[in-house]
């Protein structure tokens, strides 16, 4: 095999350099790409149906498996949110629901959406599918471990779902699982429910570590020739940085889950102080509930960026491709992703301003939190500056991107309210917080996921999703979701606290009733609108228009595979060689308005392309 990867044009270009070494009008060495240093990966090809579709080692299949499992949990989370909104908007119709049910739904909705839906979807789903394709690798570097990663996730989901059926039901401790209430009676599901939750989270972390190692090492070690770090699509940068964050943050979740399990099962007192319950002093003493909060948010805040950074990366690529313009300020974008990732480990206690931790921490964490606004704002500027003087296709994919910009900026600005310690005091634990984080890490990443689905569906399935249905799906979702969360901020201003099963008739809260009804109706509609996509996918798979190769005229490698959809091994006989970044759109002098990453400089010698 070793002759094969030496035997190509670029390598020969190198030898010509050694021979003459001079530069002519067209430099014969301009196409030079460093030769490969390691032999190609041996792939294990599937021999049976089970190996091909179930216990599969192909990252693309694993990506789809992750995607479908995550979407399944997302639908469960969606149904739970409907039930919650039914109680909040129309309690007279929700007579079957007790406060216990409500808190269980709140908890499971939160945990499912953040961890099992968004994290698994972005990193497990998009990460697996796109990383090898975008960096020009045949597969992940450890395909077998990658397969185990998915199945570990699958078991974690199964354990999580099983908690709905155990005595006492799932935990109703709130997704933050704050002790001591989490493991005490008085919180629903404080028996089997919480144990299954902690076990499921631990399994998730273990499974995720297997996947995460793959994503990181594939990106660092298995890039094709010429794919320098600064030529990687921002999608890969986003997923890479998010994975690094996850590898550092998830251990904090794992240890806190283990410690809490011990507190629950063996009556240790990591998080449990002396507690008086129903007139009796329990067998705990000396533990710190705030310690758990520090551990939880040391995981929890990076977790926000584990979801956000892949979304940032993906949306950058989508905007660039569909605006037919290079991403504005690529290097700034890369450093912003890395910078936000680094800073995200120094802001966790902004979730704890009123937790009773030492109040002097407030100064530090408010400052770090507002510093993080600067690179984030730079990313927003660069997205809109990419649109500026572009040649924007207003298709479904672009609509989702525009929807992302509106919701993300909105949610980002409200983040400045909450990060600014003394402004957080009146707003924390109110609906303002709910509105903020749903806008910024619920709706905004969801917009990107949807955009990405419409964008990459032709690659994955080889067929084009229906545009008309896509636009309906977008407008109902965007307008509906915006009218759920934008007015919700104002409930928080009134002071309506979160996690209230019932408002009662506080004089200043009665005005919230009408708003709650409106929000609930919007939530029912938005949820139902997601089935437009399901319908669209089924219809397209059956009768949809066949996609041509590279229908969006994009530059990045995933569109230049040997077949569409790409087969196992991705690139046929020979791996692609990369000569440029993926953003050479609308280069003056070029024939087309895009130059693929694989195009050698000599082929576009007469254009004004900048060296990347």
């Amino acid at each position: 095999m070793s002759e094969e990867y030496d035997n190509n044009k670029s390598y020969q270009a190198q030898s010509s350099e050694v021979l003459d070494g001079s530069a002519g009008s067209i430099n014969p060495d301009m196409d030079y790409v460093r030769p490969a240093e390691i032999p190609e990966q041996d792939l294990y090809h599937a021999h049976s149906f089970i190996e091909k579709w179930i216990f599969c080692q192909d990252a693309k299949v694993i990506g789809v498996q992750y995607f479908l499992t995550a979407v399944f949990t997302g639908i469960v989370g969606l149904i739970l949110s409907w039930l919650m909104r039914l109680q909040l908007g129309f309690p007279e119709l929700a007579g079957f629901m007790t406060a216990e049910h409500y808190y269980q739904f709140v908890t499971m909705h939160g945990m499912i959406m953040v961890v099992y839906f968004l994290t698994a979807l972005f990193l497990g789903g998009f990460g697996n599918y796109l990383i090898p394709l975008m960096v020009g690798a045949r597969d992940m570097v450890f395909p077998y471990v990658n397969m185990l990663s998915f199945w570990m996730f699958f078991v974690a989901v199964a354990v999580l779902m099983a908690s709905f059926f155990v005595p006492g039901g799932p935990t109703g401790a709130g997704w933050t699982l704050y002790p001591p209430q989490t493991i005490l009676e008085g919180t629903p599901g404080s028996g089997m429910g919480i144990l299954l939750m902690l076990i499921s989270l631990s399994l998730f972390v273990i499974g995720f570590t297997m996947g995460g190692l793959n994503y990181m090492i594939t990106i660092l070690q298995a890039r094709t020739r010429g794919m320098t770090l600064m030529r990687m699509p921002l999608t890969v940068w986003g997923i890479f940085t998010a994975t690094v964050l996850a590898m550092l943050a998830f251990p904090a979740l794992l240890v806190s889950a283990i410690m809490m399990t011990l507190d629950k099962v063996l009556q240790t007192s990591f998080f449990m102080p002396t507690i008086l319950k129903a007139g009796e002093v329990l067998e705990y003493g000396g533990g710190s509930p705030i310690l758990f909060q520090h551990l939880f948010w040391f995981f929890g805040h990076p977790e926000v960026y584990i979801v956000a950074l892949p979304a940032f990366g993906i949306v950058s690529d989508l905007i660039s491709v569909h605006a037919r313009k290079n991403i504005f300020g690529y290097r700034m974008m890369v450093w912003a992703i890395v910078g936000i990732g680094g800073l995200s480990f120094f802001v966790w206690a902004h979730h704890m301003y009123v937790s009773g931790m030492n109040p002097w921490f407030g100064f530090f964490f408010a400052t770090t939190t507002l510093i993080i606004a600067v690179p984030t704002a730079m990313k927003v500027y660069n997205w809109i500056l990419t649109l500026w003087r572009g040649n924007i296709r207003i298709n479904t994919v672009m609509l989702w991107c525009l929807g992302f910009i509106v919701t993300f900026v909105n949610g980002g600005i409200t983040g400045i309210f909450l990060g600014n310690v003394s402004v957080d005091v009146p707003l924390s634990d109110t609906y303002f917080v709910i509105a903020h984080f749903h806008m910024v890490m619920g709706i905004a990443p969801l917009m990107v996921i949807m955009g990405a689905v419409y964008h990459w569906f032709p690659l994955v399935a080889g067929k084009m999703l229906h545009e008309g249905l896509g636009k309906w799906h977008f407008w109902i979702t965007f307008l509906g979701a915006y009218s759920i969360y934008f007015p919700m901020h104002y409930l928080g201003f009134i002071g309506v606290p979160r996690r209230y099963f019932e408002m009662y008739d506080s004089p200043y809260m009665t005005s919230a009733v009408g708003m709650n009804e409106f929000i609930s109706i919007a939530a029912f509609i938005v949820g139902a609108a997601q089935f437009i996509l399901v319908f669209n996918i089924i219809k397209t798979l059956k009768t949809g228009k066949k996609a041509e190769q590279n229908p969006w005229k994009a530059n990045s490698l995933e569109w230049y595979t040997s077949t569409v959809p790409p087969e196992h091994g991705n690139f046929g006989e020979r791996l692609p060689v990369v000569h440029r970044w993926p953003y050479d759109f609308s280069v003056p002098g070029a024939k087309d308005d895009f130059i693929p990453q694989t195009t050698a400089p000599s082929e576009v010698a007469n254009t004004e392309v900048e060296k990347t």
Partner: protein, 278 residues
């Protein structure tokens, strides 16, 4: 084209909603007007950025929507523009952070003359304790809590004897006198929150947390638990009545001290024993 118009309407609608909303904060009844002002300032700066960014986006959608015969500009970087934007953003962020930190500094530094109020929380209710004539609260311990010692005051602590106990979920406060709320919980996290006072802090079992405010409007207010504390969280309400000095002192004189309560229980016990003997 339609897309641009709808996005424009969303932005205009957001601004109009903000101007005309009937849902907004309650009339403030404490000294924390600075928090409201910082929120207003953040609204102007942040809202301005939101509107500017979105309008620019809408402009681009109108102006640069796809035409076959046109090409986008090719300009990978603009260092100068990026520098200007970075510094402008940094400046804006600093302008918002500064008042936030100044007010936080006031929030964590309690005035010397503040009246200390012990707020004790459990699943699911509140009760309160005020210092007696000595002006100091006695120390407490969860293990001491009993029928004859509902606050768990250490019986040996001389400061505890004259503590005034309010075994009710409503407490009265004196208008225009700063109070330091000392929070404790005997079981799980809670949070004593009155929206009109703007301030809050979690009660954490195993430790005592605090915050302060100065009520400045006579009236009755509802207390909400603002930290999830189990299935009765939403029902964990209490009350505050802010009174003028004269009314407040009348109310205060009617409350029982720890000593009185202990004496009452002793008598009850004695009576009980007598009954048992008969």
């Amino acid at each position: 084209m339609h897309a641009g118009i709808i996005f424009l309407l969303v932005i205009v609608g957001s601004v109009l909603f903000h101007i005309f909303t009937p849902w907004y904060w309650t009339d403030i009844a404490s000294n924390w007007g600075g928090m409201d002002s910082t929120i207003t300032l953040t609204f102007w700066v942040g809202g301005g950025v939101f509107v500017a960014v979105c309008l620019f986006m809408v402009y681009c959608v109108f102006r640069y929507s796809h035409k076959e015969d046109r090409r986008a500009e090719y300009k990978p970087e603009d260092k100068k523009l990026e520098k200007i934007l970075t510094w402008a953003t940094t400046l804006g962020v600093a302008a918002l952070l500064a008042p936030g930190l100044i007010i936080w500094n006031q929030y964590v530094n309690v005035p010397k003359n503040a009246l200390e109020v012990d707020v004790m929380a459990w699943q699911w209710g509140w009760q309160y304790r005020l210092p007696g004539a000595d002006g100091k609260l006695g120390t407490t311990q969860v293990r001491n809590i009993a029928d004859n010692n509902p606050f768990g005051i250490n019986p040996d602590d001389p400061f505890g004897k004259d503590d005034i106990m309010i075994e009710s979920d409503v407490i009265n406060l004196e208008n225009n006198r700063p109070v330091k709320i000392l929070l404790r919980s005997v079981d799980v996290l809670h949070n004593w929150y009155v929206p009109q006072f703007r301030s809050k802090m979690d009660a954490v079992p195993g430790t005592v947390t605090f915050y302060w405010f100065e009520p400045n409007k006579v009236g009755e207010y509802e207390v909400l638990c603002a930290e999830y504390c189990g299935v009765g969280h939403y029902a964990m309400r209490g009350g505050v009545e802010v009174q003028d000095k004269a009314d407040y002192e009348v109310w205060l004189s009617e409350q029982e001290t720890f000593q009185q309560l202990s004496a009452r229980y002793e008598k009850l016990n004695l009576d009980g024993n007598k009954l048992a003997k008969k």
